[in-house]
């Protein structure tokens, strides 16, 4: 019983850590794309969003 609980907890924890890591990396990537990407086309497309959300622009 104790063993199975421990195994369950460990699996859940490692699964949770992986999920957190994936979400954090994906989230940072998306925010970079919308707010910081220096590519001119991306800057022009996100221009008004960047100004409104106070990302440094231009």
């Amino acid at each position: 019983m104790t063993t199975s609980t421990q195994t369950f907890t460990t699996t859940r924890t490692s699964e949770g850590a992986k999920a957190i890591l994936v979400a954090a990396c994906l989230g940072l990537g998306l925010v970079f794309l919308a707010g910081f990407s220096p590519a001119s086309a991306l800057h022009n497309a996100a221009h008004d969003f960047r100004h409104t959300q106070n990302f440094p622009c231009h």
Partner: protein, 245 residues
Amino acid sequence: MIVRLLSAALVAGFLAAVVATGLQLALTSPLIVAAERYEGRHTHAAGLSAPLPIVLAHAHEGSEPHGAAPEWQPAEGLPRMAFTGLATLVGGVGYALILGAVMLACGREPSPERGLAFALAGFASVALAPALGLPPELPGSEAAPLAARQAWWLMTATATGMGLYLILVRRAAITIFGGLVLIVAPHLAGAPEVAVTQSELPAGLAAQFAARSLAVGFVFWAVIGLAFGWAWQRFGRGREAGAHV
């Protein structure tokens, strides 16, 4: 768990983008368009690599700027609004993913109330604190080089986020002190110079934009937090119900 986290972030990002795009189009986009009329007269006369939307739009009418290939940009009107909405969606989902990751990493089960609390910390980190040194700017009022402003923005947002974590989640005397130091340090170090150029941009327009920008940012974050907590609980219930069948 990963599916639940991604799904909740997608829902929260979408709902926040719908609300924030509406507010942006109503409150801030008209000011940006108005400001672009003043852009390029003084501050952008030299050294600007990306041509400005208003200049480009006019360039098609006959005066190609020095034979340079025009860079892609959404056309005025509906396409520009659509891309603003798309960028808000991408940014909203991104923020929601970070919010969810931080909440779970702190060991907090997301609920609407807790989501809102973490979202307020997010708003303070990426909108309020950077705005103290770099007020939200309209096109045509920037001074310091972009890289310096982006570096200070990132440093301030990270330090404020870490500081709030140390103060609000850790809650020990030493971490509270460290958190306060982290929050104050970027401002003591000083932001890149604020624009003091002779822009023809009316000050009232800039002030109105700064206030509206922070208001839109606040609503954006509040919806992300509330919706993420709600969606997380909802997807959790669905999964439990499925497991019982």
